[in-house]
């Protein structure tokens, strides 16, 4: 079926004829040297990412509260980041295709979208492993998980669209337009939506320096959501400078209830006691107290907060980011070359039956 589709593509694609033979003369002379540099670069990617793996498991210190499971962040965040780069590249190349109508741009746009999908899936899987360790479940329909799932569906629809259209020119045009519209959703789904929701357990404020989780201000007796937990501030008790809050925490689906007692020092303005949410490694922090208004600011304290302040962790994280980005560009080139070769072979076959 794919073969028949490619054959149809080839027979109706006059633009792909001779596109691979157009190499500038200056580049032709530099080609052997450039190829050697490219080969060295690819070898370097292999060694670099192997080094990142060794550092991730053996050199980076354990995260407070998460143990060895927290090491997955070194891989999880860069793969998510590369997926954004890939979808952006796909949109830019789709725009270039619509402007210049060169099939090679379509090949690269498709390859970038496929790689973006792959890296998003990797980020989702590594996130699910993290979720199992921290939340006790692989999938929790947390806003971050839901938004990444929607993103996967949007790009899966692009591949479905491409396979549903027989006419090559129409397929390329429609998928380029779709890819541009799909990318509009990426910043919203990756960066905005999970931060709009108050109820997320995804540690946005743990790993991105400078970002803040706002927490939840509650008056005594009021109910609110922290993560996927319903919390109710039952009371505030003061003893000298120490204020202790009584907070009732409900399990997701209201399957169980627990009472936690976070505390706060009014003189030093520091959190004192930060009890863990039942069954989780996240803690409940009392960040601010207003005794006159009988209200308190409650927040989730993620273990591993400030993890990138450790230099070894930061360098390994940046090395991972660079390594995965380079790997993406290599994979993009290989896949686009394969798509170009397949198109040219079909074209030749159609031309010489």
């Amino acid at each position: 079926m794919a073969y028949a589709s490619m054959r149809r593509e080839a027979t109706t694609d006059p633009q792909s004829v001779g596109r691979m033979a157009k190499v500038p003369v200056g580049l032709e002379r530099l080609k052997p040297m450039l190829q050697r540099i490219a080969q060295l670069g690819k070898l370097l990617i292999g060694i670099w990412l192997a080094g990142v793996a060794v550092s991730m498991f053996l050199i980076v210190p354990q995260y407070e509260g998460l143990g060895n499971a927290g090491r997955i962040v070194i891989m999880h965040v860069p793969t998510a980041w590369v997926s954004v780069i890939a979808f952006a590249a796909s949109a830019i190349l789709s725009g270039l295709y619509l402007w210049r109508r060169q099939p090679v741009y379509d090949d690269y746009a498709l390859a970038a979208a496929e790689n973006g999908f792959l890296f998003t899936a990797l980020a989702t899987i590594t996130g699910m492993i993290f979720s199992q360790v921290v939340w006790g479940v692989y999938w929790n329909w947390d806003p971050r998980q839901t938004s990444i799932f929607v993103l996967l569906l949007i790009y899966a629809a692009l591949f479905a669209l491409r396979s549903a259209i027989d006419d090559l020119q129409r397929r390329r045009q429609l998928s380029a337009v779709y890819s541009l519209f799909a990318f509009v959703t990426v910043p919203f789904l990756v960066f905005v939506a999970p931060r709009l929701a108050d109820s997320t357990l995804h540690p946005n404020c743990a790993f991105i320096q400078g970002s803040q989780c706002d927490g939840l201000t509650l008056e005594v007796g009021k109910i609110g959501l922290l993560g996927d937990r319903k919390v109710q501030l039952l009371g505030l008790e003061r003893e000298n400078d120490l204020v202790t809050a009584t907070v009732r925490v409900s399990e997701p689906g209201l399957s169980g209830e627990h009472t936690l007692y976070p505390s706060y020092n009014l003189a030093t303005k520091e959190m004192i006691s930060r009890p863990e949410f039942p069954g989780l490694r996240y803690q409940l922090g009392l960040e601010r107290v207003d005794l006159n208004g009988s209200s308190a600011l409650l927040n989730i304290e993620a273990p591993g907060t400030g993890v990138l302040e450790n230099r070894v962790t930061l360098f390994t994280f940046l090395a991972s980011l660079g390594g995965f980005t380079a790997l993406f560009f290599w994979m993009l080139h290989v896949r686009a070359t394969l798509l170009g070769v397949a198109g040219a072979l079909m074209q030749r076959e159609a031309g010489h039956p």
Binding site: A21, G46, F57, W330, T337, G340, V341
Partner: protein, 76 residues
């Protein structure tokens, strides 16, 4: 060696590293080979395309001599 020993706290991290490195080496070798094959295919296609273009650029005329009783000998 007892397989359960591999999951002990002190050993598990080395086992995880060995698995991760094995997976990465496998992916790297696979990608390297595909890259090489794709590059060779592309070079071969480019070469054939250039050869065909060169052939089509060469004049290709067949001269035949036809004997005609009315018009004598005609070259076409």
């Amino acid at each position: 060696m007892n397989p359960t020993n591999l999951l002990e706290a002190g050993v598990a991290i080395y086992v995880a590293l060995a698995v991760a490195l094995s997976v990465w080496i496998g992916i790297f070798v696979y990608l390297w080979r595909i890259d090489a094959h794709a590059r060779n295919l592309r070079h071969e296609l480019d070469r054939q395309q250039r050869r065909e273009q060169a052939q089509s650029a060469t004049p290709n005329v067949t001269i035949t001599r036809v004997h005609s009783p009315e018009r004598g000998t005609v070259d076409s």
